[in-house]
């Protein structure tokens, strides 16, 4: 998965400590002090500790964690709304932390755009002016900004609302404006901090679908923050799980589901519908051997639920797994059923312990 040549954003050994003397607190943290101890003994909040993430161009990197785990802090380091205590942030091969104010403004105007949990639209500007805002900030003419704003408003389904003010729109529509505003800046990187968390579940699903649809076409590098595992699994190409400011696991979402390396993650994934989330390619046997006793063909990217429905619950069947018209593996229903049981329950050692 990781392609060294295609890394858009790279975070290296990033630390963030909130407090009066972060540098001193950092030495304690490096010496192994944890978040609660640091707060108790030194009165500093450990925001982030030793974060290393590579974000691939054209992928959606989802950062997931419970509230207070440091997600917002992390994403705000990318465009330096928050300054780190230590570490490096490399965007397109350049160290963002070395930027002066002018270059930083240029980065924020041209390379990165942001979508906010509470929309953060300008209440005194119309929807159209909001959508074209990034262009106006860059000094482009009002006409050019409006043209671009109009285009993206139409793209997110808000044609006809140009002259409305943001608070005349529903939450979902406001966030569509937020997305149009980010897209109209034509930046390669989009930062989305819990962009859909404030929306009703049905609207949220719509917005996730909209984002995936846009992404298929635009191939932006998206950093998406969420506290919702279903959302994370739906959107993520690369999933980073954050706890108390540290990364507990990162990788392909399917991999994390099948091999969680931490009880925190096991708790997180305990309640999800694995049959709907896991995909055939994650549980198949990779082979081009035609196999015997084949009951039919399945697509590598379809989820297990569909296969179960197809098999009508018969665990003795085998399927040929196809991708782009080629066989890529064999799916044994027995493996599929095993994958449906969370690791925790299937591991006898853990079952004894708990």
């Amino acid at each position: 998965m990781t392609d060294q040549n295609n890394i858009k954003v790279s975070i290296r050994n990033l630390f963030k400590i909130f407090g009066t003397d972060p540098a001193a607190a950092l030495t304690h943290v490096r010496a192994g002090l944890g978040k609660p101890e640091l707060l108790e003994q030194h009165g500093h909040v450990l925001g982030l500790q030793n974060i290393n993430v590579d974000m691939q161009a054209g992928e959606i990197t989802v950062i997931m964690g419970l509230s207070g785990s440091g997600k917002s802090t992390l994403i705000r380091h990318l465009n330096r709304l928050i300054e780190p205590t230590a570490g490096e942030i490399i965007v397109n091969g350049e160290d963002v932390l070395a930027y002066d104010a002018t270059k930083l403004d240029a980065l924020r105007q041209n390379t990165m755009s942001m979508v906010f949990q509470k929309f953060a639209l300008f209440p005194h500007r119309t929807v159209l002016e909001n959508a074209g805002m990034a262009r106006r900030v860059r000094g482009e003419s009002g006409k050019a900004a409006d043209k671009e704003g109009q285009k993206w408003l139409e793209r997110v389904g808000l044609a006809g609302y140009e002259e409305h003010y943001p608070n005349q729109l529903s939450g979902g529509m406001q966030q569509r404006v937020g997305i149009a505003r980010a897209l109209a800046s034509d930046s390669e990187i989009m930062l989305m901090d819990e962009a859909f968390s404030a929306l009703d579940p049905l609207i949220r699903t719509d917005m996730q679908d909209l984002l995936l649809e846009l992404q298929r076409e635009l191939h932006k590098t998206i950093v998406f923050i969420t506290h919702d595992l279903d959302e994370a699994l739906k959107l993520a190409d690369h999933l980073v799980i954050l706890k108390d400011g540290a990364i507990v696991q990162q990788g392909e979402p399917q991999e994390i589901l099948l091999q969680p390396n931490d009880p925190y993650i096991m708790d997180f994934i305990a309640d999800i519908n694995r049959a709907r989330v896991l995909r055939v390619r994650s549980v198949m046997e990779v082979t081009t051997d035609p196999g015997t006793n084949i009951a039919g063909d399945v697509d590598a990217n379809s989820n297990l639920e569909r296969v179960i429905a197809m098999s009508e619950g018969d665990t003795n069947l085998n399927y040929r797994v196809m991708e782009n018209g080629q066989q890529v593996g064999l799916l044994h229903m027995r493996d599929l059923v095993r994958a449906l049981v969370p690791v925790e329950a299937s591991d006898p050692a853990r079952r004894m312990a708990s």
């Binding site: 924020r108 990165m112 906010f116 900030v137």
Partner: protein, 349 residues
């Protein structure tokens, strides 16, 4: 001899105090005069003062026992001398700085007075309509001015209005930037708030005293400064508050899209603080009106002068009618600015 003699002696301060000869040289204090008028000379034998009559150890009382302690009148004298001492220096700085205010006040006054009523009243109506877009406010303004013209108070009302006009402009031009600076710096805010509190709570007469010494009473900038000092407070406060109250998320969005500080200030913070700033301007106008009446004491022309005449000459009718005109002016200024404020608020929703 005096009540605290014993105390001075016990403390061993007799030498430092010098000869205690109250009633000797120097002007007499009021207490000494009273004592003398009551028959008992200051030098006479004091009967032992009963405990219940123990005088407060004030400067004057202590002075009776100890020459070296100054009397209160010496202290006020010192304050006066101190002020007179820095007066020339202060004048040298303040005079050129405040000169434009005087010019503008005079120019505006003669401008307002030179404009004939049949131009002025429609002009005011147009202005009201432009700001407030409200028929009832327009009607109020029209009838008020026609009424004041009818009872021959038009000239005074226009003079008062002219002063308020100039002073409000100064308050806004100075107050909004000060408010913005305060919203940007917590230190500046901590320093400014006590000063603003003081300006707002000082009785208005107290302002006038140092100003009278600094400038001559005939100068229009004297009352101009008094009005501005008093009326500038709300516009500063509410600009500061308004900018600080702008939604943090919106500011963060402005930062995230790379807005410069100037773009942020003019494009986001001031527009979003505008309802608060306008509320401050409304209060500033009302306070200017209150002060312009008092400033008639220091030669400010206008309706206040008629009120003053009413007080001085016990002309009840003159004072009351002028007072009524002031109320009318206050109501219409308030309604017009509130309506303008309401329009801003609703356009932002």
């Amino acid at each position: 001899m005096a009540f605290y003699d014993g105390l001075i002696e016990t403390l061993g301060l007799t030498d430092w105090c010098g000869e205690a000869d109250a009633g000797g040289g120097g002007p007499l204090t009021m207490a000494e005069l009273l004592a003398r008028a009551n028959g008992g000379g200051a030098d006479g034998e004091d009967p032992a003062t009963p405990l219940m009559d123990t005088p407060f150890p004030s400067l004057d009382t202590l002075h009776q026992s100890c020459e070296a302690i100054p009397r209160t009148r010496d202290v006020t004298e010192m304050v006066e001398q101190g002020f007179l001492g820095i007066k020339d220096g202060l004048r040298l700085v303040l005079d050129p700085l405040t000169e434009p205010l005087g010019w503008l006040l005079d120019a505006s006054l003669s401008g307002f007075e030179a404009t004939p009523w049949f131009i002025m009243i429609p002009l005011l109506m147009a202005l009201t309509w432009f700001a407030a877009r409200s028929v009832s406010v327009l009607a109020l303004v029209t009838f008020s001015f026609l009424f004041m013209a009818m009872i021959n108070h038009y000239d005074e009302a226009i003079q008062t209005l002219s002063i308020i006009f100039v002073c409000t402009i100064f308050c806004v031009v100075l107050g909004v930037p000060i408010g913005i600076a305060m919203s940007k710096s917590n230190t500046l805010q901590r320093i400014s708030i006590p000063i603003l509190d003081m300006l707002q709570t000082l009785p208005t007469f107290v302002y006038l005293i140092p100003l009278i010494f600094l400038f001559s009473v005939t100068e229009s900038k004297l009352y101009g400064i008094a009005i501005i000092l008093y009326a500038i407070v709300p516009v500063i406060r509410l600009t500061d508050l308004g900018i600080r109250l702008v939604d943090k998320d919106v500011i963060e969005a402005a930062d995230a899209f790379g807005m410069s500080n100037w773009q942020k200030l003019t494009g986001v913070q001031i527009p979003l603080a505008l309802p608060n700033i306008m509320a401050g301007i409304n209060q500033t106008i009302m306070m200017s009106l209150a002060m312009v009446v008092i400033a008639s004491l220091v030669s400010a022309p206008g309706l206040g002068r008629l009120v003053l005449r009413g007080i001085n000459n016990l002309e009840l009718g003159v004072g009351l009618v002028a007072g009524f005109c002031i109320v009318l002016l206050a109501v219409l200024l308030d309604r017009a600015t509130k309506a303008a404020l309401g329009r801003i608020n609703s356009s932002e929703q």
